[in-house]
Amino acid sequence: MNLSLKDVCRFLNAETICGEECLDRLVTTVYASDMMSDVLTFPREQSILITGLVNQQVVRTAEMIDLSAIIFVRGKRPDTVAVELARRLGIPLLVTRKTMFESCGLLYGNGFSSVYNEGE
């Protein structure tokens, strides 16, 4: 089953802040965290990050491990510096009003995988 950012938007009723042209990107794995060094522990292809952290270092973290997109939860929006950085780097930013718990549950239940499995 090939899932894309479009599907993520649909499941989370998410709005695009920037990167509308990238919504066909395929997505396989999801990371949910507010701690950036935890995110850097498991770099994976075709991965997205769900977070409540809205500073520009989230965008830098995404840049370092080539994340396909960042989804901000609970309607939180990054500042203009972060958005401009994401635009420049080609990293789509999405926002959902859902909580992190619900967002994770919806994506997990609809076929997205974790970035790592226990015991790896």
Partner: protein, 152 residues
């Protein structure tokens, strides 16, 4: 003979870049790592290698920004490996073993609120390295050395 003429020069660096890092400057934090990543992409380094270098560069750059007043991040691309050296004149690391423990962090609360201080920085750096060395002296500073081998 060509071999003798080249004696001790087998590993001449292809490229060397140095970036000064200013402590507590969170607006600029990550720029040096971004430039390192962009440079490696331009010269055609394999994506998996670039990712490891990027993680090392970013984690060491953030460590300098978070824990020191100033430091320097240096990238050296050799024919057979990439080296990253991150040196600062910060407070140094009092307990090295503790610093390498996953989850342990000395970052203050305001840093944790920014999403750092997970205590995964040094473990992440070591995991990405083929060779890792940490030198530190309390009161003097810290130097992290990483080598990542290039395939072939």
């Amino acid at each position: 003979m060509a071999e003798n003429a080249n004696n001790g020069q087998k590993n001449v660096p292809v490229l060397k870049l140095s970036f000064p890092i200013t402590g507590k400057n969170f607006g600029a934090a990550g720029e040096a790592s971004s430039r390192i990543k962009g440079t490696l992409q331009k010269i055609g380094v394999a994506p998996q290698i670039i990712r490891r270098v990027a993680i090392v560069a970013y984690e060491t750059e953030m460590n300098i920004v978070i824990h020191a007043d100033r430091g320097e991040l240096t990238l050296t691309v050799n024919p057979d490996c990439i080296e990253i050296v991150a040196a600062d004149s910060g407070a140094g690391i009092a307990d090295r073993e503790l610093a390498m423990q996953e989850g342990y962090s000395t970052a203050p609360d305001y840093i944790r609120e920014m999403g750092f201080g997970a205590g995964m920085g040094l473990p992440n750096i070591k995991r990405c390295a083929d060779k890792f060395d940490l030198q530190s002296e309390p009161g003097k500073g810290t130097t992290v050395y990483v080598r990542i081998n290039l395939p072939g």
